[in-house]
Amino acid sequence: MYGCIKCPAKIEHIERFVKYVRTVADDSGFSRRRINNAELALEEALVNICRYAYSEGRGDIEVACRADEDHRLIIRIIDCGKPFNILTVSEPEFTGDITNREPGGMGVLLIRKMVDDITYRRRGDKNILTLIMSDKRAQQMIKDP
């Protein structure tokens, strides 16, 4: 069991969460590429929380990561900030001059593309975002332990 970690929602703490998820993914047999994908999805989700969730600028983030019985990586991210469902964010428009493109939306786009499934629930005062991803290498380890 890997439990969870909880830190203040500050950019400087993101690396702690990333290292924790990297360890779980690595121990679960995920390939270097899929671990990189997990780190990216996690960073983008955490940056959103650090920037926008807490209007007073203070609050915590909790991340719990585990591999399930199908060797899928389950990353659960909880904050007590403003309700924010990334599933409702529209994709950025890719038209016109890149130098005029608004940067917003790129992070959410990357989260969506990096993972297999995303769920969002608002429970009480909590945002609960769950990122689910599989990896052929990890699943091969079930067959050939």
Binding site: N36, E43, T99, P103, L109
Partner: protein, 110 residues
């Protein structure tokens, strides 16, 4: 993240290694702005040894591209591969930058 530079004629080759994420991307942007402040306007940014890039890294490259555009400068990218190429492809950044396999290929064209 580590940034190394070398001068080839009037072109500055900037090699970025390691990770370009939320914490480290501002350092890249600052370094590039310093080069521009020194009067440099032609850049080959080699990402061949970059392991990781997030939207923060893309935003930094975009910010530098905007600054260079105002100065009629040039920025081309080299060595996009693996996870870094994947991020450029998903966000369609790859279609709007001139990209080359190696810095030498880019230098031959600039």
């Amino acid at each position: 993240m580590e940034i190394k530079t070398r001068e080839e004629r009037d072109v500055t080759v900037v090699s970025v290694t390691g990770r370009m994420g939320e914490l480290t991307a501002p350092a890249f942007e600052e370094a590039m702005k310093n080069f521009i402040a020194q009067g440099k306007t032609k850049f080959v940014v080699d990402l061949g040894e970059l392991e990781y890039i997030s939207s923060a890294g893309l935003r930094s490259i975009l910010a530098i591209t905007k600054v260079l555009k105002e100065k009629n400068g040039t920025i081309v990218l080299t060595g996009l591969s693996g996870a870094v190429r994947e991020v450029f492809a998903i966000t369609q950044f790859i279609s709007v930058f001139a990209t080359y396999d190696k810095p030498e290929d880019a230098l031959a064209e600039l």
